[in-house]
Amino acid sequence: MKNSEFLKLSALELVEGYKKGDFTVSDVIETALEHIEVNERNLNALITPLYEEARSRSWMLDAALARGEELGSLFGVPVVVKDNITVDGVRTTCGSRMLENWISPYSAHVVECLERAGAVIIGKANMDEFAMGSSTEFSAFGPALNPWDLSRVPGGSSGGSAASVAAGYAPIALGSDTGGSIRQPAAFCGVYGLKPTYGLVSRFGLIAFASSLDQIGPFARSLKDVAAILQVISEPDARDATCTRKERPNYAEFLNVTSLEGFKVGYLAGYESLEIDDEIKRAISQTIEICKEAGAEIVEVDLPISTRYGLPCYYTIAPAEASSNLARFDGVQYGFSVVADDLKELYLKSRGSGFGPEVKRRILIGTFVLGSSRYDAYYLQAQKVRQLIIREFNAAFSKADVLITPATPTLPFKRGEKLTDPVKAYMADLFTIPVNLAGLPALSMRASMSQSGLPVGVQLIGKKFGEGDILKAASVIEQVVGPAATALGGDRK
């Protein structure tokens, strides 16, 4: 096998290869690091590549392999981690000048899980500042680009994680999703991106944006890898009080089904007349057709409140929570700070210079909607609308096991296209946002390629803790459309 072939293998194929002695961990890690070094000049998918750390870990793992030790489920697998998830001893910037030089003195729960499973963290991924954005253009470290077309954005906020997996830096990555930040970039980069149910994965070590919405989840190029990494990171953790103590199923068991007999797949009533790209509409109908042929019962569902009021509901609640969460960045204990004569000036100037434009905009909106004279009309009303959205999904799931919707209204857009008009930019999350408001799991996956050679994604939404249902339907679809492809190295499909 040529070394460049390593870049296309899935996580589970790599583990198999190590076990059989086909190649070593250091072979694979070295190849990945060289590939990263060359491609980062264009892609800028990583804020901090971890060359030295990954190298020494690969030698350590090869030694363990030689000693015949028992291997973890992600043994020797390169992983990219979004830069709002902490890794002990490594800087965690959140894509912000505010944390440009902050070295985390502890690891996130998910990172501890990955390391126990034998994974090798090879880099911290680029992202929109504090996970606020849909294009990775709001990173203080420069924009990440889409590996399928360098003139386009990879989506965001976990754009660096999605681009890394699409470009073959690593077979799997971690991102975080508050309103679509895993699923929208996954759709734009043509890979799998799963936002688990609120409460399935511990957020200990995830820098908080909006605590009632945030969730960590995986990116991968195959469903088997999605199931494998979800199994690893969903280990219960008392350090996040919202993390459920429910028993986790064996996610791999939901894969490899060939029939959806007795399974109900819902689709959005009237999606044909929504303002979405024609190629996305076609992908939706093809995906529904695949489920139907596999024996699923196809039902129509209505989500009028979610579709019409999801965005304003989210853009009230998320900034409100962010304005409170980001109050901790005050220039006193850590992070960016200016020299000032008095404490108030220290706060004003440190926050004024440390935060970028989108973060400031959202802190202002959040502070505004929480003001005593606005609270009832904005924040409280949004919380009530959130309840209506939850009810609407409950009604939809009394008819269906899984819903198929667009992941995004458009294909990946050009760089700079939506930088100046925030309201237009917020539209990118139209179909992903209601899922966070209702705390549901959802997967974004590539359903086809557009005529222009761009990935076309669809979204599968499940009931609370219905990750298994999603994997089951997705597995049937993957058997027809194939797993995700890598976008670099002359193998664009």
Binding site: N101, W102, I103, P105, Y106, G199, A241, T242, R245, K246, R308, Y309, P312, Y315, S323, D330, G331, V332, Q333, Y334, S337, A340, D342, L343, K344, E345, L346, Y347, L348, K349, R351, G352, F355, P357, K360, R361, I363, L364, I365, G366, T367, F368, V369, G371, A377, Y378, Q381, A382, Q383, K384, V385, R386, Q387, L388, D421, P422, V423, Y426, G439, K464
Partner: protein, 105 residues
Amino acid sequence: MSGTSDGLVEEIRRVAKLAMLELNEDEMKHIGTQFKNILDQLQKLSELDTKDINPFSLEDMEPMPWRKDEVVAWNRYSEVLSQAPVSEEGYFKVPRIVEGDHDEK
């Protein structure tokens, strides 16, 4: 949002002060228009009838677990303090908050 654009600018200044964010004139100008467009969107929420809706219903949620309030040893304070912008003798140091003529020791 009602009121003149001057009123809006004043409102943003007030909110920025509350949020402890210094904004320069250029930022004020940009954020002004965008702020209005965003608030217009948010106001759509008032179209919905939400009478009798409990805004903080937790019927879907698992109850939060209780845990013991235990002290767990953690010995990396120096790493944390070394990242403080200014620290002194194991404490974070900030500009003087109490007004007065006392000399610093």
